[in-house]
């Protein structure tokens, strides 16, 4: 059973990790927690659902369309909710509240549009199961895990190795200086939001497919957990976000089975607190970031 719980934990952890990458990306560039991220995650799942049920699109068409659409939503979140605040040099708290507002707006809009009842969701990833000893691993779980790792590698490559990634890092360190160096700061920030929203969309679709169920409240808990995952790994660090996500997932799963399911969230957050007490910048975070 222990191995089974590890598999369960890694699956849910991969999902947290995917959303946490988005959090970390935005935080890394803007020093801003994007509370709209959880709403984008729900919206991605619902876009695919709407495309498939209302417009009869097949999954191979609906998923890429939804990812592109979420990219556009990510752009809008920045354009409507944040751009003006940046221009006005508003305090960071205003931007934070603005993302919270945009997130709530998205959630309510979906609730009115499709209703709040739980919807059954098609499983696109149903390719059967593998049994190793007593442990059952479904292909859905494998695909979720692999997607998570691949996307982490891809996003890390872009951020740490390419020119656009380097300009993201530059913007994160000093916006004014980056602007003086000829970096288009606005473009970099917009791009970050677009990528984060696309990642949220992918994880939303994976979650829907895994549970074969979506509802409009799905973003709330995941939003909280992924935030915890990002902090645990060290906000701004992409491998840290993935590690954090997997740890939170595992802690939850093992806590729920060996302690009590009532305490599953409490256990996950207790781990977060302990790690932060020992290493305040998170597992992979750099202590000296703020000073620079």
């Amino acid at each position: 059973m222990f191995l089974q719980q590890i598999v369960n934990g890694l699956t849910i952890g991969s999902i947290y990790a995917l959303v946490a990458i988005g959090y970390s990306l935005v935080f890394g560039v803007l020093r801003l927690i994007n509370f709209a991220n959880g709403a984008e995650y729900m919206l991605g799942a619902y876009f695919v659902y709407i495309l498939m049920t209302t417009f009869g699109a097949k999954a191979p068409l609906a998923i890429p369309l939804a990812i592109v659409a979420l990219g556009a939503v990510g752009y809008l979140v920045d354009f409507v909710g944040l751009r003006r605040l940046r221009k006005k040099n508003a305090p960071r708290m205003s931007a934070l509240i603005s993302t919270l507002g945009v997130g709530t707006f998205i959630e309510n809009a979906i609730q009115i549009w499709v209703g709040t009842e739980t919807k059954s969701y098609p499983n696109f990833l149903n390719f059967g199961r593998i049994t190793i000893g007593k442990t059952i691993i479904s292909w859905t779980q494998i695909i979720i895990f692999v997607t998570c790792i691949l996307l982490m590698v891809a996003v890390s490559f872009v951020v740490y190795k390419t020119k656009i990634g380097k300009s993201m890092l530059a913007v994160s360190q000093d916006q004014m200086c980056a602007r003086l160096m000829g970096i288009n700061v606005s473009l970099v920030i917009t791009l970050t939001f677009v990528v984060a929203a696309m990642l949220a969309c992918v994880s939303g679709v994976l979650v829907g497919s895994y549970y074969q169920n979506i509802d409009t409240n799905m973003s709330f808990i995941v939003g909280m957990k992924t935030f915890a995952a990002a902090v645990l790994g060290g906000v701004g660090s992409l491998p840290g976000a993935v590690a954090g996500g997997l740890i939170v997932g595992l802690a939850e799963s093992i806590g729920a089975s060996y302690v009590s399911a009532g305490y599953r969230d409490a256990i996950a957050f207790a781990i977060l607190i302990i790690v932060l007490l020992v290493k305040p910048s998170g597992l992979f975070g750099k202590n000296n970031v703020e000073k620079m």
Binding site: I12, N213, A261
Partner: protein, 406 residues
């Protein structure tokens, strides 16, 4: 530059307005009220008269309905709303209550006890409201019932079944059997089906705790072994695999799935994923709904579900309700949410036809009523102000509920 600013300003302004409107919508109160009124008006014949509009507010009888219209259990609340609206139209078309129109005001409690309490205070602050229907689950009903009892308003809950609800006072009635009743029925069935090792999974809320205690004691009395009982926090859990893996490991032969359909469906799909096909699933009457079959798909196959409705029934009240809802709404299958909200509403209408709108008189009438023709069997309230009911068993086969027997 200025132009862009203006556009941004306009867009965000628009967003604000829309979200405000959305807030009102989900808040229940005013909007739904206007809607219901308009609908009832259109149905009643004198509604076309210009003067009728103003007079009717003082002349009509107001009944409040509170229930989950948004959130996890929205589907149930919306069924209540649709059923009662259809019945209200019918009653008004047939002359109302002694010539007075019935107006139903709808409030959304979001299946949240805090919200239910707010809504209850809102309802009692309106002196025109004479009786109340709601809510759907035990927790919000437990929170709201004392407010109505204190105000002397008769309240009938179509569904809530916690043992502590009706003891609130003499004005509080329930159309449902006690929660413990269903726990006992399911325990009985497991015993009859010959299982030795049984397990249960339930949400840690008022309903779940109530029902699980009864089930545990009944099962233990019959010398069945309870190998595992798992609880979870409702509304915050979508990953049941850790709990189910544990239940699988415990070697349970039969599993009692206590929660309502959304969670139950997820439990079923995740059980399939963990290859727990050999565990017989038992589900409560809240799962006897098409939404459960749709959400759980193939993984629901074989699940035994109990319910208060026998679909082949020839009961006149039931058939009349089925016909009415077929005409006025998109509901094809009449579920227990429709029948129970029908019973709650029509009981109040019948009571008011005989004794008027005084709260104490209505409560007395309800207490005295004998074999009132409800949509799933005659209703007589016992000393707990719950009716006695019969349960029927179904099994999911080929994506349908097949009747097994009583």
């Amino acid at each position: 530059m200025k132009k862009i600013r203006r556009i941004v300003g306009m867009v965000s302004g628009l967003a604000l307005i829309v979200s405000l409107a959305a807030g009102c919508g989900s808040g229940g109160g005013t909007e739904t009220k206007a809607e219901t009124k308009a609908e009832t008006k259109a149905a009643s014949e004198d509604g076309t008269e210009a003067a009728g509009g103003e007079e009717s507010s003082s002349d009509s009888i107001k009944i409040a309905l509170y229930g989950p219209l948004t959130g996890n259990n929205a589907q149930y609340g919306l069924t209540y709303q649709a059923t009662i609206n259809a019945l209200c139209e019918k009653v008004n078309a047939e002359g109302g209550i002694n010539g007075r129109d019935v107006v139903v005001e709808v409030f959304d409690d979001k299946n949240d006890p805090k919200e239910a309490l707010n809504v209850a205070n809102l309802i009692v602050s309106d002196p025109e409201i004479v009786a109340v229907i709601g809510s759907q689950t035990s927790s919000p009903t437990l929170a709201a019932a004392p407010v109505f009892e204190e105000a002397g308003l008769p309240m009938i809950t179509p569904q809530a079944s916690h043992v502590d609800i009706t003891p609130t006072g003499g004005h509080i009635f329930s159309i449902s059997c006690l929660a413990t009743f269903e726990g006992g029925v399911i325990a009985q069935r497991m015993i009859e089906d010959g299982y030795k090792k049984v397990a249960a999974i339930y949400a840690n809320d008022d309903y779940g705790l109530n029902i699980i205690e009864r089930w545990k004691s009944d099962v233990t009395d019959a010398d069945l072994e309870i190998v595992d009982v798992e609880e979870y926090i409702s509304g915050q859990t979508s990953d049941f695999t850790p709990l189910l893996s544990k239940i699988k490991e415990s070697g349970a032969e039969a599993l009692y799935i206590v929660p309502s359909y959304a969670d139950a469906a997820m439990i079923c799909t995740q059980m399939e994923q963990l290859e727990m096909g050999n565990v017989q699933k038992y589900a409560c009457s809240m799962c006897y709904t098409d939404s459960f079959l749709e959400a759980a798909g193939e993984s629901a196959e074989g699940t035994k579900v109990c319910n208060f409705i026998y679909p082949e029934t020839t009961d006149e009240t039931f058939l009349a309700l089925k016909e009415l809802l077929g005409e006025k709404t998109s509901m094809e299958n009449i579920d227990v949410y429709a029948t129970n909200s029908h019973d709650a509403f029509m009981l109040l209408v019948d009571a008011m036809k005989e004794v008027g709108t005084d709260g104490d008189a209505i409560a007395q009438w309800l207490t005295d009523v004998k074999d009132w023709p409800g949509a799933c069997g005659p209703i007589t309230f016992d000393e707990t102000r719950h009716p006695d009911k019969q349960l029927f068993w179904f099994q999911v086969e080929g994506g349908q509920f097949n009747y097994l027997g009583q």
